[in-house]
Symmetry: C2
Subunit: 333 residues, 2 copies
């Protein structure tokens, strides 16, 4: 590995790579975007031209074989994460992989093991975790701004276009609203509750045409009899909020995980009234790229590392199991 900036490659010409993470690598203080691979060389070349990337590869393997690539970003559909994270690790590449991390926790463990065995850094692309709003929320909770945090209420929903080409709607590619939207609800609940749920009850509805889950709710119970209620949906109108409810007040954030280029705010609601803290636009994609770069240099830990990805996936597995069985599911601590 060179001692200059981290040399990045992108595996698949997905829209999120073109719009968000590719530009994030370009802006990163410690990275350069060196290559892109697509199953179609032509598509890779178009993408490379658009983002001014020097190298375009036809099959993904060709990019992994490039010795001048240090790290790869993998925005492939979920069902392909296992194969390509492991392939990247075996090729000695550090990995940033989109959420949801894997199809299930079994896959997740194998992926994490492969990265560990290969000595490469691994980061799950939960870019919202870098957003200063969430650090501020944790600080407010820790400082007692709302007394003791007791409840979380969060939703991430938008009506999806019924486009068969959308990977989110493919059972084969492990699409569905839980992996796409619900995973954020679960992640923010775990983050702000500061631990794992001890049990949960969930319901989910599969779309009769596409077969993937379009809609769901989960009730997560945490230590100390605290609870989170979450809603995720491809069916309902747009909802995208997080409420942290304490004994003495509520913190509310709209667009809490995704507000590219927009200012956002935290509302601190207490008996004394409502105080609003404003946050300027923040590029969470750039931040995650820089974090993996720092981790590769040994200058930081990955914020959402493999063990965290496994814990998150175990909760998603439990949500699915609860919905399928119609039972509460206990999580081992």
């Amino acid at each position: 590995m060179s001692t200059g900036p981290i040399r990045w490659g992108i595996i698949s010409a997905a829209r999120i790579a073109r719009r968000s993470v590719g530009p994030g690598i370009h802006k990163a203080r410690n990275g350069v975007l060196r290559a892109v691979a697509s199953r179609s060389l032509e598509r890779a070349r178009e993408f490379a031209a658009e983002l001014e990337i020097p190298r375009a590869y036809g099959p993904y393997e060709a990019l992994l074989a490039d010795p001048e690539i240090d790290a790869v970003y993998i925005p492939l559909p979920t069902s392909l994460h296992h194969e390509w994270v492991i392939a990247a690790a075996r090729a000695g590449k550090h990995v940033l992989v989109d959420k949801p991390f894997a199809v299930d926790a079994t896959e997740a463990v194998e992926m994490v093991d492969a990265c560990r065995a290969a000595g490469v850094q691994l980061l799950e692309g939960f870019m919202y975790r870098y957003d200063p709003k969430h650090a501020r929320l944790r600080e407010l909770v820790a400082d007692g701004a709302i007394g003791d945090l007791r409840q979380i209420n969060t939703a991430f929903c938008f009506p999806i276009t019924r486009d068969p080409a959308n990977v989110r709607l493919s059972t084969e590619l492990a699409g569905g609203a839980l992996g796409d939207l619900g995973t954020y609800c679960v992640s923010v609940s775990r983050l702000h509750m500061g631990g794992e749920p001890r049990r949960l009850a969930a319901r989910m509805t599969d779309d009769p045409e596409f077969g993937v889950d379009f809609d769901g709710n989960a009730l997560l119970e945490f230590e100390g009899d605290r609870a989170a209620m979450v809603a995720f949906s491809f069916t309902t109108s747009r909802r995208h909020f997080l409420e942290l409810v304490g004994t003495e007040g509520t913190l509310r954030v709209d667009r809490h995980v995704l507000a590219p280029g927009e200012s956002t705010s935290i509302e601190i609601q207490t008996v004394g009234g409502t105080v609003t803290e404003l946050f300027p636009p923040f590029d969470s994609y750039q931040a995650e790229v820089e974090n993996l770069g720092d981790a590769i240099r040994g200058e930081a830990a990955p914020l959402v590392d493999g063990d965290e990805a496994i814990r998150q996936m175990r909760v998603l597995d439990a949500v699915r199991a609860s919905a399928r069985r119609g039972k509460w599911v206990a999580l081992q601590s």
Copy 2:
């Protein structure tokens, strides 16, 4: 029974009677407040003097024996509803009884049977049902203002003072947050979903000192894979809202069941923006008193009748059963 206005008696000098329903009877176009009873004659006399009520009775039985009383309002603690609703019915009095209607559905059925056998009208005091906001919400949903209603999100929570004299905190009197606050969450969910949940999962936390439930959540699933998430609590800061979430928008009401003397509003949130409809203060207590009066005169049906009270109680029983067993509970349709 006279042909003049309905002659009301109040059984117990509870605060809600003094502040809300007593004045509601005074204002009602078809009722007069004729008597009050308390276990303590002295307390009944004080109450009678304060509200300018001509007759004060020592034990409750004395009021029930008064042939010049047509209807009674029963704001007793929940555990006493069964005994005194049945006693009132047997004395030939029509009954307005506070929510929660009974300790459980078994009691509720006996109470309803007793009223039916005695030929008296029965109304559960879910005063919010008279609030024009809820009729307007139903109209908006029926008119497709938010597309298809898919989800409900509602909370009713306030931090309670730990006062052993508060009947809400007494296990013996069947207090607790579910009966006091959660029952509204369940009721508004049933009302706006237009039917009974087919199954539900719930969690509740009992207070270690008082023994009654202080906190709970429930996830209710309705026909058509629609769901309601509800939170009720004596522990968290004040929360009191209802959201009806559709495929094309959301209707939001703050202070949706209790806003005495205050203006309230419905926010209609759609892709086109947010429209706010304002509602002036409305006396729901007066409205329920007038409704029972009309029912006694055969001029209207009770809006929250015995069968409705039983259905509501069956759902509350299921919430308790689910929380106790840690299982989803199916409701028979």
